[in-house]
């Protein structure tokens, strides 16, 4: 658990980067600090491992005042990941990851073995261990940065825009990976970003900072969307926050049966028909045609996004993006279960709201 108690940071030039911050980060959760550039996210984060000392106020990590611990010792017990990864260019990937265990006095062999294990945990081939950082892609460097921070198994992890220097596809992969890791490791993670989507995706709790170092709102993602504390938060979480709210609702939507046909089959198509492969996975749609035809790849109309049965947002998007206005729902193996309709999603939303499941 990390507690900020009336923490203020004023730099020598008079800039107030953090203003009277009161906030508690629960153990075993991912808490995201989000806000526009220069609002004091990095400063708040760096005060936890004493890369910066507060001007006034107290920060407790697991009940202990950080100012009572000498900085190097404190930092060895707190993982720290930064935007540019900050790997040591003169050390191999393996030795980079082994840094903290070695500093903490492990013997070299044990530290290296642990480092190799960590490379696997973060999804890197251990063969990468022999490379130097300059020989890795940005995304790979970022994984090594995470591995290095995890090496000594610290209970707390500080991450400062760790994924913002990589392309969107890689970023999404790294985010999923982090969620998977967290499910296993159960760390207390503070994650800084200026990307609201990233914040809503990763954070169990999200702290929205306002320029001048003020905490504007500290809440669960769904609440942030449905009940922003002020205009700043409302505009920061964005215009389509109503739509985003659906991400956090898991209400039931009725699933309707759908006519399917297999590739190569001879059929008479009268209405929208979903074409599937041998494993029942959707391939595309056929709209009504005259007479009997043999279904071939050529006739298919590309489908929309697939609904995996998790959130209302997925259901609505599947329905809206489908050429037939029917959202295809699939199971874990990708096989077709049925279809959902947009009206049903709206009804489900109304029901959830009536039941008080949508925070006000």
């Amino acid at each position: 658990m990390i507690e900020f108690r009336a923490v203020t940071k004023r730099f020598e030039d008079g800039t107030i980067a953090v203003d009277e911050l009161d906030l508690t980060v629960e153990a075993g959760t991912i808490t995201v600090f989000v806000g526009p550039s220069g609002c004091g996210k990095t400063t708040s984060l760096r005060m936890v491992n004493r890369m910066i000392d507060p001007t006034s106020g107290t920060i407790l990590v697991d009940g202990k005042d950080v100012l009572s611990v000498d900085p190097p010792t404190l930092r060895r017990g707190i993982g720290y990941v930064i935007q540019q990864a900050g790997l040591f260019p003169h050390r191999t990937v393996l030795d980079n990851v082994a840094t903290v265990p070695l500093l903490s006095g492990w013997d070299r062999r044990k530290a290296r073995a642990r480092a190799a294990e960590l490379l696997e945990i973060v999804g890197l081939d251990p063969a990468f261990g022999k490379r130097y950082p300059a020989q890795l892609s940005g995304g790979q460097q970022q994984r090594v940065g995470v591995a290095r921070a995890l090496a000594a198994d610290p209970p707390v992890l500080l991450m400062d825009e760790p994924f913002s220097a990589v392309d969107p596809v890689v970023r999404e992969g790294l985010q999923d990976e982090l969620l998977r890791l967290q499910a296993e490791l159960d760390k207390t993670i503070v994650f800084v970003t200026h990307d609201i989507d990233e914040a809503l995706k990763l954070g169990e709790r999200v702290a929205v900072f306002q320029t001048g170092g003020h905490l504007a709102q500290y809440a669960k993602p769904a609440e942030l969307l449905s009940a922003p504390a002020n205009d700043f938060v409302a505009s920061f979480v964005g215009r389509d926050r109503g739509y985003r709210t659906l991400t956090f609702l898991h209400a039931d939507v009725p699933v309707h049966p759908v006519t399917t046909a297999k590739l190569g089959q001879r059929v008479t198509v009268t209405d929208w028909t979903l074409v599937v492969d041998d494993q029942d996975r959707p391939r595309g749609w056929l709209s009504g045609v005259d007479g009997e035809i043999e279904v071939s790849e050529r006739d298919l109309i590309a489908g929309g996004s697939l609904y995996d049965g998790s959130t209302l947002r997925g259901a609505l998007d599947a329905a809206l993006s489908s050429p037939s206005a029917l959202g295809v729902m699939v199971d874990d193996n990708g096989a077709v279960v049925g279809v959902v309709k947009a009206d049903d999603v709206i009804k489900a939303l109304a029901k959830a709201r009536a039941a008080g499941e949508v925070p006000k």
């Binding site: 500093l103 490379r131 290095r148």
Partner: protein, 221 residues
Amino acid sequence: MGGWLFDPAHWSGPTGIPVRLLEHLGYTLMTLLIAAVIAIPLGAFVGHTGKGGFVVVGLSNALRALPTTAVLILVVLWAGLGDFPVYVALVLLAIPPIMAGAYAGIRAVDPVTVDAARGVGMRESGVLLKVEIPNALPLIYGGFRGAALQVVATATIAAYTGAGGLGRLVFDGLALQEFGQMLAGAVLVALLAVLVDLGFAGLQRLTVSPGLRPVGTGGKT
């Protein structure tokens, strides 16, 4: 013209070419060692703290303007003949480039890397010794090898005040109006400079992390 150099008589005895070469090499290596011991810690420390940079730059420039001959003569007049004046003069010559290289090398280390070093819990000594200096090595070697070339060339004037080294060939040749001997001295000094530089280039390859070589050439991929 090369007759003097290849005359076997000049390759033996206490004033033979091998002895002069070794003396010259001795002056050079000893000078570099002393200068490095003074200049690298100084430059690195100032680079690390970021304070007093103007002192390093100013001191380097002032020392660069100092005529080595004058220093040599002054120390001889003050302390008498011998190797000591030679070392004073040459060490003062070698300090500026070595110190400037160390200072610039440490300053050039990516601040993100240094920040990360502190972030993982290194103490200041660790940050300097385990991260900054290893990363600064290419520039440290740059300054050091520059100094080495200058020292090899300038050690020649040690012979003006009667000390040894390859300068003896030049000054003795001058006194005897023996051009072959002067030329031999010049050629041998240049040769020695190239060899010394090759030696340090080898040392650099051995001690600088492959991770710091230009991208694509370091290690296996």
